[in-house]
Symmetry: C2
Subunit: 368 residues, 2 copies
Amino acid sequence: MQTLQVDLGTRSYPIYIGRGLLDDGALLARHIVGRQVAIVSNETVAPLYLQRLSAALADFKQTHIVLPDGEAHKNWETLQLIFDGLLQARHDRRTTVIALGGGVIGDMAGFAAACYQRGVNFIQVPTTLLSQVDSSVGGKTGINHPLGKNMIGAFYQPQAVLIDTASLATLPARELSAGLAEVIKYGLICDEPFLGWLETNIDALRQLDDAALSEAIERSCAAKARVVGADERESGIRATLNLGHTFGHAIETHMGYGVWLHGEAVGAGTVMALEMSRRLGWIAEAERDRGIRLLRRAGLPVVPPQEMTPEHFLEHMAVDKKVLDGQLRLVLLQRLGEAVVTADYPREALQATLTTDYAGLVDSLGDA
Amino acid sequence: MQTLQVDLGTRSYPIYIGRGLLDDGALLARHIVGRQVAIVSNETVAPLYLQRLSAALADFKQTHIVLPDGEAHKNWETLQLIFDGLLQARHDRRTTVIALGGGVIGDMAGFAAACYQRGVNFIQVPTTLLSQVDSSVGGKTGINHPLGKNMIGAFYQPQAVLIDTASLATLPARELSAGLAEVIKYGLICDEPFLGWLETNIDALRQLDDAALSEAIERSCAAKARVVGADERESGIRATLNLGHTFGHAIETHMGYGVWLHGEAVGAGTVMALEMSRRLGWIAEAERDRGIRLLRRAGLPVVPPQEMTPEHFLEHMAVDKKVLDGQLRLVLLQRLGEAVVTADYPREALQATLTTDYAGLVDSLGDA
C-alpha cells in the first residue's frame, strides 16, 4: 500500500493506494469517529462492491443508499435521496458518509456530507480510474444545474481517500479511457516526463496492467495533492487542473449530461486547448500533435461533436466558473508540461479554435 | 452608527448598526469586490426596501431575486429560484449576494452564496428584529427538510452585516415579538443583568422606541459575536444559543413550517427549557416564573400547542442536530444567565417536562 498526503493544515488527509483495500475495515475505521456510517453508491457499483465494503465495516451501524447511475442523475432530485436516507435512519452530526463509486457518486455524496446538518465527515472510496486520479482528491463536490455543470457545490475535504486498484478490473473500457484523459492532463500541465512514461505505457494501462495502473494513479494523485495543497479554493494555480474542461463542460452541457462521459469531453476539449495554444504560438504543431496522438491512443474522442457550432461553445462557456468580471479565462499550455490560466488572448484566436476542422486535423496525423 | 466585530480570523467581519444604513451605498461597497450584485428579498420586504437598496448600489450591475415570503418556502424549490436567477444573469465567482429580509431570506441567500460556484461573497441586510439580533450573525445558513428544520445547510460567514434599525418601523407586532424571544434568550443564557434591563424596557421595545431597540440589538449582537467567535462550528458553547430551540423546532416541524413563527416556537420552547431546569433543581420556581413572565410580556406564546403529545415531541427531537450517538443533548439553565448543553439528565425529567400542564402553570402566574 502507498500512502500520499494532501497537506491542508487541519484539513489534511491521506490517500491510500493498493490492491484489496476495500476489505480493510481497520484502515477505514481509523477515519470514522461515530458509530454510524452511510454508504452511498449506485446501481452499477453496489452489486459489485457494496457487500464487501459493508462486511469490512460490520462494527458500525450502516445505512446503504443506492442511487441511479450516471451524470444525468447528478442533480438535486438524486441528492435529496441521500438526505432522505440519512434523516430516515436518524444519522446525527457524528455520522460518516462513505462514497463508493465514480466521480458522480463522490461529488454528490461529498456535497451531501458538506450540507447535512451543516457538515459531517466523509470518506472517498473511488472505484473508477477518473475518480481515483482526479475527482476524489481535493474536496470539490457538487451537482449540476440545467444551465451549467458543477454550478452548485462546496469545497469540502474528505477524511481519507481509499483507492482499491483491484476495483478497476470491472471497469468498462470506455470508462477507463475517460479516466486516462485526466491522467494525461497531469503530464500536459505540470509533468512533461510523465507524458513520455504514458507514451510508453498507454497500452499496458488499457490492458489493466496492475503495476502500470498503480504508478499512473500514484503520479496523478501526487500531482493533484501538490496543486490542491498550494491552492485549495482555486484562487490561482488549481485552475490549471481544468485544462480542456471549459471546452469539455460546454460539450457535456450541450449534448446532455451523460451522453459524452466527462473524461471523453475533456479529451476533445484538451485537443481544442492544444490547438489554441498552438495558434498563440506557445506550443509547436508537433507538440500539439504529440498530445492529440496520446489522447487518441488512450481511446478518447479527439474531435468535438459535429453538431456544435462556435456559438454553442461560446454560450455555454459564458457561465464557466472561470469567468471573472465577464472575462472568460482559459487554461492553455505555454509548453508541454506547463499550463497557465489567462484571459489575455486575442478573441480571434478563440474564434479560430472554435472553427477549426478537427476531423481534418486528426485525419492528417495518420495512424502513427 | 455602532460597529461590532465578529472575530473569526480570516473570516472576521463587521456588524454595522444604525438608522438609515440601507441608503449607505459607500458602506456596502466597501464589502463588494466584483461589479455584480444579486439582491435576494421576498414579496413582503421588496416593495418596502428593495428600491432604496438598489439606488444605493447604482454603481453595480444588479439582479433582483424576489422570493415568496415565509418559513414554508425555506426549501430547495425556492433556493433553486436563486440559482436560476444567478445563472440566467451570468453571475460569476466574484459576485456578491445580498440578503434583504428576515431570517428565512438570510438563511436561504447565505446558503445559495455558500453553494453557488462553490462559494461567493455575501452580505446580510436583515430587516426583522429576529434576523438582526440572531440569524444574520454567525454564518448559519440552510434550508428545511420535510423531516427536520435546518437539516441542510452550511456554516458560511458573510462579508458584513448591515442593520438598519429604521426598518423595524414596518415590522408587524407579531414578528417583533418573535424577535424578542431571541433577545430574551441572550439574557437567560449569558447575561443576567440584561434580563433586568429587558424587564424595565420591554414595553418601550414593543412600542418601537428607537433607543431601546438599538441597545437591545447591540447587546444581543455583542453576545452572539462573542459566542460565535469562541466556537464557530458549534462544537461546544455555541449550542447554548439554541435554548428553547430543540422543543421549538419540534413545534415548528409538527405544526407545519410557518404556522408558528420561529420566535414564537422558541418562546414556548424556552418555557419548556425553564420548566425542565427547575425540575432538575437547577433554577428555582421563582426564576422559572420570572422568565415566563418576561416572555409573556414580550407578546409570545408561553404554552406549547395543545395538540402536541410527548410522543410528537420525542419523535421530532430525535432528529435534532444536537443528537450525538443517539443521545439527545438539551440546552438547560444552571441559573438565570448561565446555560449548559447536556445529555446527562434523567429521562423522567424530560418526560415530566413534556407532560406538564403549561396552560395551568401560566394561569397560576396571574397577570403580575
